[in-house]
Symmetry: C2
Subunit: 239 residues, 2 copies
DNA sequence: CAGCATTTGTACGTATGTATT
DNA sequence: CAATACATACGTACAAATGCT
């Protein structure tokens, strides 16, 4: 693997283990370069990864301050699958696949993405149980051109794992939209909704490395269990 | 200003104006370096900014593909103030300050951040009207140690503008949390809530460059008008 | 399928500017 | 003012992926 990535991992681990405690300064870039026997630029790339993931804050003339990531224990936003989320949090969870078949794309999606009405998609519906309750209903549409089919086993365990490892697809980026919508009959039928009238819906358009659209997902969450956390940096100059 | 930032702005503008249309390739890094008369690394830094803001997708061996940012017209997540949001979208909006005074920190915040109970904060409550309706209720707490007071005028126009320009504070990063909560009497009193029983709450902890906590905000949104969009990149290797 | 040119990714080295202490 | 540390910029070399011949 890359040098800068290895160094990033090593530093991250040392921060997690409080070898570099929160509030302290990392060794200077020059020192780190000597310690790891690499050039300063390689160190800077590693530090940038730490910066983006909320591990450190850099200050010109001073150094790299270790942040208190304890209280920031979460999927620093980005594109993370349910499975990967669980792994980070050790919650008892379960996935139930209640639909897995190839069919024509729903009309509203064909329109939204300017696709032919007879486009084939692999349509998945999955329930996510946490502590025995159905908290999330996931509806996935995968373009059949790109993914032939999905073994139900894979959909239960890790869809992204299957797509990336087995199908050799490289997922690159996504546009995500968070809204609140009234519940549907389907929500009512499958989720443990109590008296809720609404669910939080996360709509994702997922794209491959070559910029082809490949997946559309609606992740429907019970209101009282929904939480999304992100670490954001201010971009003073960007706009 | 920086060269790489100027080049970023220039390229962004050219993409917006379709001089480099969506789906096309940018000139190669070497070509761009010659065009702008800078080194390749400077170009790469500019391209990285474009990458992070969702303007392009890079592919090794191929080039930088311009993305269809039209459909991604939004505040690419991050730390953006209400005022800045509006400016990007040209919506008729109005801010009404209904509270602006220095007082003791609320107990739950003192506990959450391990601050003394007698900590002073500037407490702001603001209503955000869009098209005549109160859609958002913002509750801000600014540490009095850092900000002495806020002119109501500034709280109406642009709090961040005031803090950054007048107070010379550098806002660096924030932890944001999105949840849905039952409405309070305060929500009921000030917002146009119809029959809603819940609001979307965005809780932000905002930190300065020197990592000092400086602001805590709860932004309470009417369900039916809440929308949050983000552009996310998959980090295959990061965890 | 092999080979080649093109393009991006990684890494190193050096020099200079700017902020902090 | 001096030393230290991060930021920017240029240049070079080689590796890896892509696309074309």
């Amino acid at each position: 693997m890359n040098k800068f990535y290895e160094i990033f991992r090593d530093l991250k681990q040392k921060i997690d283990q409080k070898e570099y405690p929160a509030g302290s300064l990392l060794p200077s870039e020059l020192n780190l370069a000597q310690m790891y026997n690499v050039s300063r630029e390689t160190i800077r790339k590693a530090l940038n990864l730490l910066l983006e993931s909320g591990y450190i804050q850099k200050q010109q003339g001073k150094g790299s301050i270790v942040l208190d990531i304890q209280r920031l224990q979460f999927p620093v936003s980005g594109l993370t699958s349910f499975k990967e989320l669980q792994e980070g949090q050790q919650i008892d969870s379960q996935t139930i696949v209640i639909k897995n078949k190839t069919e024509k794309i729903p009309r509203y999606l064909a329109e939204q993405f300017h696709l032919p009405e007879d486009t084939d998609v692999v349509s998945l519906v999955r329930l996510r149980k946490i502590s025995g309750e159905v908290i999330i209903l996931d509806k996935d549409y995968l373009l059949h051109d790109i993914v032939d089919s999905v073994p139900t086993e894979a959909a239960e365990v890790s869809l992204y794992g299957y797509l990336e490892k087995e199908c050799k697809l490289t997922i690159a980026y996504a546009k995500k939209e968070f809204v609140v919508e009234p519940i549907t009959q389907e929500d009512q039928k499958y989720m443990n909704l109590k008296n809720d009238t609404h669910v939080v819906v996360v709509k994702s358009e997922v794209y491959l490395e070559d910029t082809r659209l490949f997946q559309y997902t609606e992740s429907r969450h019970r209101l009282d269990r929904f939480k999304f956390v992100e670490f954001a940096r201010r971009k003073h100059t960007l706009l």
